[in-house]
Structures are given as structure tokens and as C-alpha cells.
């Protein structure tokens, strides 16, 4: 019995662990540059301001450009054979819509990447 107890004590430190990780894609979108956008800007002026987009969608004679940045935070906790894992992915997005004359007609931005959290899965998050 004493041997089993000793074995259990020796294995205990090996049977638990925790980790935090963070993955990011692209650079965060800069709000101070987004506020400089306005209807009528040419695509060349937008390129100079924001750089190249991640995606271009052709919309007939018009087009839409996407800029984005993702942040994923993972939290893990293992106790013996039970692991709790939380993955939280949030994103900055910017879509620009150009008319047939290559002028900015409409745009929309969502900046939420910084709200990604390290929390355990039973903790309320983004509720």
C-alpha cells in the first residue's frame, strides 16, 4: 500500500498542467488610418493609406477590398485525465467598396481583435 501511495505522489506532478497561447494573423488595423477614409477616395489613395488588401472581390464593374487581423487566445488546464480548453478568436475587419470609377463608395469597419480573452471555458466571456 505504501508503494502505491509513493507511486501516486511521484506521478502527481506529471498529471497536471496549464497553458496560455496567442496566435495572430496580420497586423492590427489602425483606427487613426481608418478615420481618414471617406467617400470619393481613389483606390490609389487607399493603397497609400492602408497598403494592399488581403482579398479583392470583383463585383461586376465594381470591387470590394478586405483588410483583416485575427487574434486567438487559448487557455488550457489539465488535471489528471480531464482537460478544460477555451479558444477565443476575435477579429478586426475593414471592407471597402469601390464604384466603377475606382472611387470609394462605402466602407465598414469592426475592431474587436483586442477583446479576445484568456479565460477558462466555464467563465462568462463576451456575454
Amino acid at each position: 500500500m505504501r508503494t502505491f501511495a509513493l507511486a501516486a505522489l511521484l506521478l502527481l506532478p506529471l498529471a497536471q498542467g496549464c497553458f496560455l497561447t496567442r496566435d495572430t494573423t496580420n497586423q492590427p488595423l489602425q483606427e487613426e488610418r481608418i478615420v481618414q477614409l471617406g467617400p470619393g477616395l481613389s483606390s490609389a489613395e487607399v493603397l497609400e493609406l492602408l497598403g494592399g488588401p488581403m482579398e479583392v472581390v470583383q463585383l461586376g464593374r465594381r470591387s470590394a477590398w478586405r483588410y483583416d487581423h485575427q487574434r486567438t487566445k487559448r487557455t488550457g488546464l489539465t488535471l489528471f485525465v480531464v482537460t478544460a480548453l477555451n479558444t477565443d478568436t476575435q477579429e478586426d475587419r475593414l471592407w471597402l467598396f469601390f464604384n466603377e470609377y475606382d472611387r470609394l463608395a462605402a466602407f465598414g469597419s469592426t475592431l474587436q481583435a483586442s477583446s479576445s480573452e484568456w479565460v477558462l471555458p466555464w467563465v462568462d466571456s463576451h456575454e
Binding site: 496566435d23 486567438t72 489539465t78 480548453l85 478568436t89 476575435q90 477579429e91 467598396f97 462605402a106 465598414g108
Partner: protein
């Protein structure tokens, strides 16, 4: 004896029980949708209310569709494994987002005036109109 066996199995990761939660993006504010009026609201007004969409699709005849989606799921996984991290993929994937998300698809006519708003699984909503694949920028 039972304790030692349990600890040994746990230490070698032969068996596992995993409680997972995945949160991917935030859903749009539904109260903002109530301010959008088909036939009156234009694309700029919709973007100002809802922010940037997740997807923009071309439809036939110079009309377009935009989509907003998000998902979260949680639950237990129990099984045998030699590596507790196997299968955990934190990378963001737009294909997965479209396949798993619930959200809204907004259809616009050729003048980019709002035609309709539909709610449901994005993968179902996105099959209801013809669209062309996106072009990558090198």
C-alpha cells in the same frame, strides 16, 4: 491501486476527457437590424449600422450580398488519445466560419440598395444565389 492506475493513465495521456469551448467572433447587434429598411437603406447605411461584414459575394446582374456570422460551441469530448493537443486547431478559417456560423445575409440590388435580410446558417443562406469565388491578392 485504483488511484495509481488512474494516475498512470492520466500521466501517459492514454485516456482523456476534454471540456472545450470555442468562441469565434461576435454576432451583430440584432437591434441594429431593425433600423434597416429594404428598398430604402443603402449599403453605406448598413455598414455604418452593422460594421464590416464577414463575407462579400457577387450576385448576378451587378447585385451583391454581404454576410455577418459568428459561432460558439462547447461540450465534452471523451476518448483515448496519445496526444491531448491533437485535433486542436486555433487557426482562423473563413471556410469553417461560413460552414458553422449562424447570422444574417443582406441582399442588395444593382444600385446597392437593400433588398432583403435573411437569418440562418450562412452555408444555407449562401447557396440561395449565384456567386463567384473571391480572387486572392499576391
Amino acid at each position: 491501486m485504483i488511484l495509481a492506475c488512474g494516475l498512470a493513465l492520466g500521466a501517459s495521456s492514454c485516456v482523456k476527457a476534454q471540456y472545450e469551448r470555442h468562441i469565434v467572433l461576435e454576432p451583430v447587434q440584432t437591434d441594429e437590424l431593425q433600423h434597416l429598411v429594404p428598398g430604402e437603406s443603402d449599403l453605406a447605411q448598413c455598414l455604418a449600422r452593422l460594421g464590416a461584414p464577414n463575407f462579400v459575394w457577387e450576385r448576378s446582374g451587378d447585385s451583391i450580398a454581404i454576410a455577418y456570422g459568428a459561432y460558439r460551441h462547447q461540450g465534452w469530448q471523451v476518448g483515448a488519445s496519445v496526444n491531448v493537443t491533437r485535433g486542436v486547431n486555433a487557426s482562423f478559417d473563413y471556410g469553417e466560419l461560413e460552414a458553422l456560423s449562424r447570422g444574417y445575409v443582406l441582399l442588395f440590388d444593382e444600385r446597392w440598395k437593400l433588398e432583403s435580410v435573411s437569418e440562418g446558417l450562412l452555408r444555407d443562406l449562401s447557396t440561395k444565389f449565384e456567386r463567384t469565388p473571391p480572387q486572392s491578392v499576391e
